[in-house]
């Protein structure tokens, strides 16, 4: 078993990219690998409360996140500065996340075998 850290940087609904990243995350977890997620930059918007993308015919990617728990995805981290720069507090998100300061991210990355950019 390897430990994977998926480093997501893009907001949802800008194309199929985020949805396709979530497919890889689900597959990795389904293959019983230790799987964690780090939301950086505009990716913190992926978990913003109150999105209604289905009104525009888009897939609700935020709703996939609660299912990740069933797949034993270990941790969902968000960079504290990315949240702050965008005026978001952890309470504005639809899931509890672990907030990580920018200075601690290199250490977080070093604790994983595979860094998966997205």
């Amino acid at each position: 078993m390897k430990s994977y850290l998926f480093i997501l940087r893009k907001p949802a609904h800008g194309g199929a990219f985020v949805q396709e990243m979530l497919d890889i995350i689900l597959t990795t977890a389904a293959f019983d690998q230790q799987t964690s997620i780090l939301l950086l930059d505009d990716a913190v918007f992926q978990l913003k409360k109150g999105q209604q993308p289905e009104r525009f015919g888009m897939k609700d990617t935020a709703s996939i996140y609660p299912a990740l728990e069933i797949y034993d995805v270990k941790h969902i981290y968000a960079e504290a500065e990315s949240l702050e720069e965008r005026g978001l507090k952890p309470g504005d998100l639809c899931l509890p996340i672990e907030s990580v300061y920018r200075k601690d991210i290199p250490g977080l990355m070093r604790r994983h075998d595979v860094l998966f950019p997205g």
Binding site: K2, Y4, A16, F17, E20, D23, I24, T27, T28, F31, Q33, V114, L115, F116, P117
Partner: protein, 129 residues
Amino acid sequence: MKFAIQINAGPYASNAGHTALRFIEAALASGHEIVRVFFYHDGIYHGLKYATPPDDEFNYAAKWSALAQRHRLDLVLCISAAQKRGLLCRDEAERQGKRDDDLAAGFRIGGLGQLVEATRHADRFLVFG
């Protein structure tokens, strides 16, 4: 060293595919192993048989096919990303009532499990694009 490679950008959208090709050539020349090259997102267009760039321009599908033949590379296009973008293998084309498959020589269709498996067996995982 064993490398797993993922390519996410379309052939003419960025230099990701070009850089990946050059990296793989250099890695093989140095005696390293390429476990698998996995094409995802718009990267699947690297395997489109019908791409016909002008003669004096870079033909990605042809380059990959030649490289795969020379080094027995495993080039895998993600099935869900490819089907969504209209690029079908022979079985799926027949099932959908379409006439032909769209894959350039040396490419095959596979699932995301093959990407995860490649990253598990590799010493290094590199993503281009």
